[in-house]
């Protein structure tokens, strides 16, 4: 069991559900339109992607907004099924929940930890046994018994990350969440992630900060236009990636961003 994650010719396309919103009206008055939608318009998020991540590797997915990174993460986490191809994973997967997502604003930090850790696959007695360690890691002090609607975004990030530290996953998915905490906490997170790495946990990391990527990951998968552009060591790929980003003059970059926005209005907020 050397391989932790394997993508074999994976394609993922979504129907543009956005347009089905007013479904029943169309169903009653223009049934043919529904069929057109269901059959025709599909948004191709990733196309024929293949790669392997070995056990214990720390891998970063990089690429522009809308390149297909979040879709890939969704496929690894198992919340989505590929349209074509195969995704193989070994071991318990934990993905760090987005800021505030998965947390309920009315519940206290403590209650949210229990909810979150249970959702990530821990038995209740395991959660209770680790509760103190989680709270200690979060550095939230007496705020832990306040409803999290009064938390700052930094505090939410601390809460989310501290839950992850005690879940003992085999594969850890981190989706651009480190940017919010204060510097001291960011450092602590990086240390924890490196700790995980030492213990042989496979890490899949998405970030737009190439310095964070360089600190954590040995391998980089560069995704562009829904395809794998390059796979290689961080030190080899990152300079090329940076160079390409800089190469685009600001005007072009802006035009590109607008084009992508238009492309993505039909797709809800798949990339957030």
């Amino acid at each position: 069991m050397d391989v932790a994650i394997e993508f074999i010719d994976v394609t993922k396309s979504y129907p543009l559900y956005h347009h089905i919103g007013s479904g029943l009206k169309d169903l009653l008055f223009h049934p043919e339109r529904i069929f057109q939608l269901l059959r025709g318009k599909k948004y191709l998020a990733i196309e024929n992607i293949s790669f392997q991540v070995k056990k214990g590797e720390a891998v970063a997915l990089i690429g522009r907004n809308g390149a297909g990174k979040s879709t890939s993460l969704g496929l690894v986490a198992g919340v989505m099924k590929p349209s074509k191809g195969k995704v193989i994973t070994h071991g318990r997967i934990a993905s760090m929940l987005e800021l505030g997502g998965g947390f309920h604003p009315e519940l206290t930090g403590r209650e949210n930890i229990i909810l979150n850790a249970t959702l990530l696959g821990l038995r209740k007695k395991e959660v209770l046994a680790r509760l103190d360690r989680i709270i200690e890691f979060s550095e939230l002090g007496e705020f832990i018994d306040e409803p999290i609607r009064v938390y700052s975004s930094g505090m939410l990030a601390k809460l989310g990350f501290s839950v992850i530290t005690q879940v003992e996953p085999d594969i850890l998915i981190i989706d651009e969440v480190l940017a919010v905490g204060d510097l001291a906490f960011q450092k602590k997170c990086l240390e924890t992630i490196n700790d995980f790495k030492q213990r042989g946990v496979t890490i899949l990391f998405v970030s737009h900060s190439s310095s964070d990527v360089a600190k954590i990951c040995d391998k980089v998968i560069w995704i562009e236009n829904h395809n794998v552009k390059k796979i290689g060591t961080a030190s080899a790929i990152l300079p090329q990636y940076r160079a390409e980003l800089i190469e685009e003059t600001p005007e072009e970059a802006r035009a590109e961003a607008t084009a992508q926005n238009i492309q993505f209005t039909g797709n809800g907020n798949k990339e957030s």
Binding site: Y17, K25, G102, H104, E106, L107, T118, L119, G121
Partner: protein, 254 residues
């Protein structure tokens, strides 16, 4: 992979969360879930007993023994529409068994229903009646049948509502219609013969009648109960079918 023990933990944690969230900032807490059907019972009592002079003995008990189980069904079905919508982030990021969410919704409303049982007992005493021993197995038996039925419908509605948001409107209209097509406010012998079959073919009619027989007379009609389980199993089968064929798309659409 997911053991029953873990499933139990998940349900416990989730239901607790739902209960806490609902009563977090309300002073009277669960009393509200009794206040609501009681207020309706008072209104209906005034209209039908005092104004229209319906000749049904013990009309207050008659009303609440129908209204309380109906409330369970009604609220659970209504809430199930938003089971996944209101937990979008969790569904998008984690892979716990999704079927747990609508189950917890139905379970929470069941607890509310249990909380209304003392109210029924009090009213029985007021009318010089008393609860019967048959409740001991009657309540669990009918509850299970109704739970199956509600959970099946919840699975269908919570999944379909992600794809057809219009469903919400249809369901709220449908529930109002179903309420008046169920013998809650009236007894079956008041229904004109030609509508008799129509009213009684509604699954909730059987449920309500079973509850009322149990609460007011301490009687369980086992043939009827068998039919109720039939409805429950059909609803569950349909629910599982629809839920299973759509569940892998939840994360895409949310």
């Amino acid at each position: 992979m997911t053991s029953l023990a873990y499933l139990y933990d998940l349900i416990a944690v989730f239901t607790k969360k739902d209960l806490k969230v609902r009563y977090k900032s309300s002073f009277f807490g669960y009393l509200w879930s009794i206040a609501n059907p009681l207020l309706f019972a008072m209104t209906y009592y005034f209209i039908f007993k005092l104004v229209m002079r319906v000749q049904i003995p013990d009309y207050t008990i008659f009303l609440i023994t129908g209204l309380f189980p109906w409330q369970w069904f009604n609220n659970a079905v209504n809430n199930s529409l938003f089971a996944y919508l209101s937990n979008a982030q969790i569904v998008k990021k984690t892979v716990f068994p999704r079927s747990v969410i609508p189950f917890c919704g139905a379970l929470m409303e069941f607890f509310h229903f249990l909380c209304t049982l003392p109210v029924i007992v009090i009213f029985l005493w007021v009318y010089n009646l008393s609860p019967s021993m048959t409740w001991l197995w009657g309540v669990p038996l009918i509850s299970l049948a109704q739970m199956l039925f509600i959970y099946g419908i919840s699975l269908i509605l919570s999944s379909l509502n992600l794809f057809f948001r219009d469903l919400e409107r249809f369901v709220s209209l449908g529930l109002i219609l179903l309420f008046y097509c169920t013998p809650i406010l009236y007894s079956t012998d008041l229904i004109p013969a030609k509508y008799h079959d129509m009213i009684l073919s509604n699954p909730m009619s059987g449920m309500i009648l079973a509850w009322r027989d149990l609460f007011m007379h301490g009687v369980i009609d086992y043939n009827e109960l068998f039919t109720l389980y039939g409805y429950g199993i059909v609803a569950m089968a349909l629910g599982c079918l629809i839920f299973n064929s759509l569940k892998s798309r939840f994360a895409e659409i949310l």
